[in-house]
């Protein structure tokens, strides 16, 4: 793990990069990284996240700034700007059932090629996918999803990068932290090593590449 500034963190991300971003309706999203993406004007981003949040919050800021080329999410219904851009053809949207999305990301992080799920069978979510029978039941083959970067927000980080999360701000964060080539984390509080008990560490330090310094 390397400690860096928020400017250095975002400077690493090229235009067109794929980013998994933590958060659920903006709760648990690394807002400092989002704000810096907007400030540096990183364009054509592919964003993989639960949702498009709301205008002015989390991923909503990236969409409002016109920086997003494509969103892979389970819903964008509470962000009218995202819907407008989609209808105008400015932004591509892949809608994925929420449970399928998180399992595809987990598969990417856990070295699985994919998972077999009944969710989406017989619906538009089945389009373009293989069906497989296991023990007499049908499943869709849902393939693993990875990204170049994961932008993670923790509640506590210790000084070597162990992370823990608070309440419903956990959501996608620990899962995406496993599924990207480069993991960049911010934290509400950076604490000395040992402050987070071993049983309470959710993301182990060795998977975190960069921890953004607090100011």
């Amino acid at each position: 793990m390397q400690a860096i500034s928020v400017e250095e963190a975002i400077d690493m991300i090229p235009h067109g990069a794929s980013l998994m971003i933590g958060g659920f309706m903006g709760v648990g999203t690394p807002e400092r990284l989002i704000d810096e993406l907007v400030r540096q004007g990183k364009r054509n981003l592919v964003v993989i996240a639960n949702d498009a949040a709301t205008p002015g919050r989390g991923i909503g800021k990236l969409i409002a700034a016109g920086l997003v080329a494509k969103v892979v999410a389970s819903h964008i219904g509470l962000n009218p700007e995202a819907q407008r851009q989609m209808i105008a053809g400015k932004i591509g949207v892949d809608l994925v059932p929420q449970g399928t999305l998180i399992e595809r990301i987990r598969a990417g992080g856990f070295g699985l090629g994919g998972v077999l799920t009944a969710t989406g069978l017989g619906t538009v979510a089945e389009e373009g996918k293989r069906r497989i029978e296991v023990a007499g039941k049908s499943y869709l083959v849902e393939i693993a999803l990875r990204s170049e970067f994961a932008l993670v927000h923790a509640f506590l980080a210790d000084q070597i990068g162990n992370l823990s999360y608070a309440l419903t701000a956990r959501n996608y964060n620990p899962v995406i932290a496993m599924a990207a080539d480069t993991v960049i984390a911010t934290a509400e509080h950076i604490v000395p090593v040992g402050v987070i008990a071993p049983d309470h560490v959710i993301t182990p330090a060795p998977v975190v590449d960069y921890l953004v310094r607090n100011t």
């Binding site: 219904g77 509470l78 819907q83 929420q98 399992e103 701000a169």
Partner: protein, 219 residues
Amino acid sequence: MNPLDAQNIIAKRIARELRPGMLVNLGIGIPTLVANYVPNNMGVYFQSENGLIGTGPVPDEGMAHPTLTDAGGRPVSALPGACTFDSAMSFGLIRGGHVDVTVLGGLQVDAQGRLANWMIPGKTVPGMGGAMDLVTGAKRVIVAMQHTAKGKPKIVPTCTLPLTAAKPVNLVVTEMAVIEFRGGRAILLETAPEVSVAEVLAATPISLEVNDHVPKMAL
């Protein structure tokens, strides 16, 4: 009937389906109202799919924390014995059959009990969120919806809107009736207090099985 009354009849009737110890997931809209009719001390667990079991009331002003919200991002509190978890676990609970009952809103339900509730093509594309997972994975799926929309039936021979799942739901509760779907059959279980069987049949253009005696909803 005014829509608020209708919604509360539906919510109140569905609340009677819940038992102590059950893990229950409520969708947005009418389903959210169900919790109003479940006593706090009854021992029903409510799951919020953003990663919480044991949602408590909205906190007093100045007492909320930004890390504890409902699935819409609004501040909530947590009851004693609450627990939190990541989204993989949240959907593991849903897809693994650990959720005993889910209550979801509906746009249409077809003659086999298949639900459409996530998309009106050309109108809104909000995304399916967790709806497909809930219908596919929960042990029992209850649809909470008004019987008709602008005078047109919502229980229809074939859904014209995209399906949420190929798997049928178990129960549809409206302000007029309780209808069970079982083995491809649709059975009229109950009618609302002021509603006759004939009225339900007139508003429900599918083949509905009717027993000799159809009880009134207990509310």
